[in-house]
């Protein structure tokens, strides 16, 4: 199989059918947070060989804070990306994120599937687990079996908020996904070159249950009695996120992080048999950390809103690593992966604060420059954009960056997205282990949630931690924002006249490449 280089401008209606896609299943809270990190990375223009990505989030916890945040971001990404297609000057938002229904309708199929990124689990809205099982209608023997398998607390637990760290419940409920129309549509539209990646945590409720379930169904290749060979022989990657945080002890909550480790061990045993043992995945990634971090103990719902963590970011890079791996290394035959690979992640040395210099070259190469670019892009937007519209890059072209443009949906979406980006950076920074590639300070509200970040440096190019600004002692050379604006002007000349949105992103993208080249990275 030849390596497919996915470039944005090769997408055309004729090639639709040959455009290879990457399906990313994000299961549970961890899945949502990882997909969020992935979105951020894609926004910053990190390279992915698979240019079309279809995220599917599976989480019964409808009001899950993380889930909703991720969905919002995905939606914004989708809206932004729509306006930037096929524009070679722009590196941001390069990868296309599609909904499943969009992909299907593009191929001409019916769209009776989720129009969004979340899979709706039936029956979890109001029921308890007991109701879900239709416990009342079971015959006595089944009732006893059920009682044996599940505690009373389990049976009475309110499913609306997820499985709360009980994979035994999760595995039962999630089975319905694999029997759904959605899954059938997915299987039907799965093509030979497509790949699948599954994100889940091993210690949680939803993820731990869903991952092997999903995997089993993929490898069976049979949905509602129909065989789908492409699906059966799909190239599947997965990351299983091991514990990296604990929750505060709380008698009331059903979640107890003391059980995380034991649960992990139990799950790993299962995986040994049913995941790795039988070569179900072509590439399995492991990531985790010493558990020193303590989150609030929220059982789910809106409050299950954890700060973004470095581990989630790394998990996102695993997805990209999988996407960028040549197909020669990932082959499946008869539903079994040939020569599966297993990968771990490490940084240079243990530290409480990770910056780009703590990463090994491969990782820093993958995400370093792009994240920095996007960081500076955002910096300019919040600090300067409104006041610098008189410069040539903004006003010398027929499509001006003026108040009109700032009122448009596109720009407003960018602003919203960037806010999430900043919050994401702030959370990464605040967390333990913290990821602080940039010198920022988070701004919190009364509930100690991060609502924004601020930077404070005389020289803006010294904001990258661990990387020295390339100083030029010549006083005549431009510096700081002057240099920035000058590069914007130059880039604007190169980009030329095109739609305002495209020009906007293209100008910044090009300019920042030059700026970073001059001032930070060589």
């Amino acid at each position: 199989m030849e390596k497919r280089q996915c470039k944005a401008n090769t997408v055309s209606s004729l090639n639709l059918n040959t455009m290879a896609k990457l399906f990313v299943f994000g299961i549970g809270g961890t899945g949502a947070r990882v997909v969020k990190s992935l979105t951020m990375l894609l926004a910053s223009g990190v390279r992915s060989n698979y240019n079309e990505i279809i995220p599917i989030l599976i989480d019964p916890d409808r009001a899950g804070g993380d889930l909703n945040r991720t969905l919002k971001i995905l939606k914004e990404y989708w809206g932004i990306q729509k306006e930037l297609q096929n524009f070679e000057h722009n590196d941001f938002f390069k990868a296309r994120i599609l909904t499943l229904s969009e992909m299907i309708s593009r191929k001409g199929g019916n769209t009776n599937v989720i129009d969004g990124f979340k899979f709706e689990l039936d029956g979890v809205q109001t029921d308890s687990f007991k109701d879900f099982l239709d416990f009342g209608t079971l015959d006595p023997n089944n009732k006893y079996l059920t009682s044996l398998l599940f505690s009373d607390a389990n049976l009475n637990s309110d499913l609306e908020k997820g499985f709360k760290g009980n994979p035994n419940i999760g595995s039962v409920v999630l089975n319905q996904f694999t029997k759904s129309d959605v899954f059938e549509a997915f299987a039907r539209n799965f093509e030979e070159e497509d790949r699948i990646f599954i994100v889940s945590s091993i210690f949680g409720g939803t993820g731990a249950a869903g991952f092997p379930l999903l995997l089993k169904n993929i490898r069976e290749g049979k949905v509602k009695g129909e065989h789908f060979d492409f699906l059966k022989n799909a190239i599947v990657g997965a990351i299983t996120v091991m514990p990296y945080f604990k929750v505060a002890a709380d008698n009331v909550s059903e979640i107890d992080s003391k059980g995380f480790i034991s649960k992990t061990k139990a799950a790993l045993h299962y995986y040994f048999k049913n995941v790795t043992g039988n070569n179900s995945v072509n590439a399995l990634y492991y990531v985790g950390d010493l558990v020193s971090n303590e989150y609030e103990n929220n059982e789910g719902g809106n409050d299950q809103r954890n700060d973004a963590h470095f581990v989630e970011l790394i998990s996102a890079t695993a997805i990209l690593d999988f996407a960028n791996t040549d197909s020669n290394f990932l082959q499946t035959l008869n539903g079994r992966a040939q020569n599966p690979v297993y990968k771990e992640f490490g940084i240079r040395e243990p530290t409480e604060r990770v910056s780009f210099s703590s990463l090994y070259d491969e990782t820093s190469r993958l995400i370093g420059v792009n994240l920095t670019k996007y960081f500076y892009f955002d910096l300019f937007l919040i600090e300067k954009m409104k006041n610098e519209t008189n410069h040539p890059f903004a006003s010398a072209y027929s499509n001006k960056f003026d108040d009109n443009f700032f009122d448009q949906t596109f720009f407003k979406t960018i602003v919203e997205f960037n806010k999430s980006f900043r919050i994401w950076l702030g959370e990464l920074h605040r967390n333990k282990v913290g990821f602080s590639p940039f010198n920022i300070a988070p701004i919190t509200n009364n509930q100690n949630e991060i609502v924004d970040i601020k930077t404070d440096a005389k020289s803006i190019f010294s904001l990258v931690n661990g990387v020295k600004e390339k100083k030029n002692w010549n006083p005549l050379v431009l510096n700081n924002y002057e240099l920035y604006i000058s590069e914007l002007n130059k880039a604007a000349e190169k980009v030329g006249n095109t739609s305002t949105s495209k020009r906007f992103m293209g100008v910044f993208s090009q300019a920042l490449t030059q700026i970073l080249d001059q001032k930070i990275y060589s």
């Binding site: 610098e388 008189n390 410069h391 040539p392 006003s395 010398a396 431009l478 924002y481 002057e482 604006i485 000058s486 002007n489 130059k490 000349e493």
Partner: protein
């Protein structure tokens, strides 16, 4: 000299500064030529300096352009005052028949012409400037 004719036409006919015999002396000593070259080329030079040598985003507002124009004006004023004065000092063996007001009025009229040329060159010079092509007014 062509510049002498051309520039004398500009000052005398367009800007209507014609004080005899001062103007005739300026003409016969080719001072119009000298001052003309200085004025026109310095107008071009200062525009080039502003748009291509300085070429800074923080120095690209219309008053910055005017500032450079001001420097240009000062130089033109000084040149148009002292060059004829020196020339006539030499010509008349030290007993210059003209008042400082004659030189000053010529110099000031020339300053107006200088500013006109400054604006003129701006219209042609600024297009390729990376950071200042919108100065002093957008396209």
């Amino acid at each position: 000299m062509v510049m002498n004719e051309f520039y004398s036409y500009i000052i005398e006919n367009i800007f209507r500064f014609n004080e005899e015999p001062f103007s005739t002396d300026l003409y016969s000593e080719s001072l119009y030529g000298t001052i003309g070259i200085i004025t026109i080329s310095s107008a071009l030079l200062f525009n080039v300096i502003f748009y291509y040598v300085i070429n800074r985003p923080n120095f690209a507002r219309w008053w910055h352009w005017l500032l450079i124009g001001g420097v240009h004006l000062i130089i033109c004023i000084l040149a148009a005052y002292f060059i004829p004065k020196d020339s006539f000092d030499f010509l008349f063996f030290g007993s210059d028949p003209y008042n400082y007001t004659d030189y000053l009025s010529f110099s000031l009229i020339n300053a107006i012409a200088a500013f006109a040329f400054y604006v003129f060159w701006m219209l042609f010079v600024r297009w390729k400037s990376v950071n200042a092509k919108q100065t002093p007014f957008p396209h």
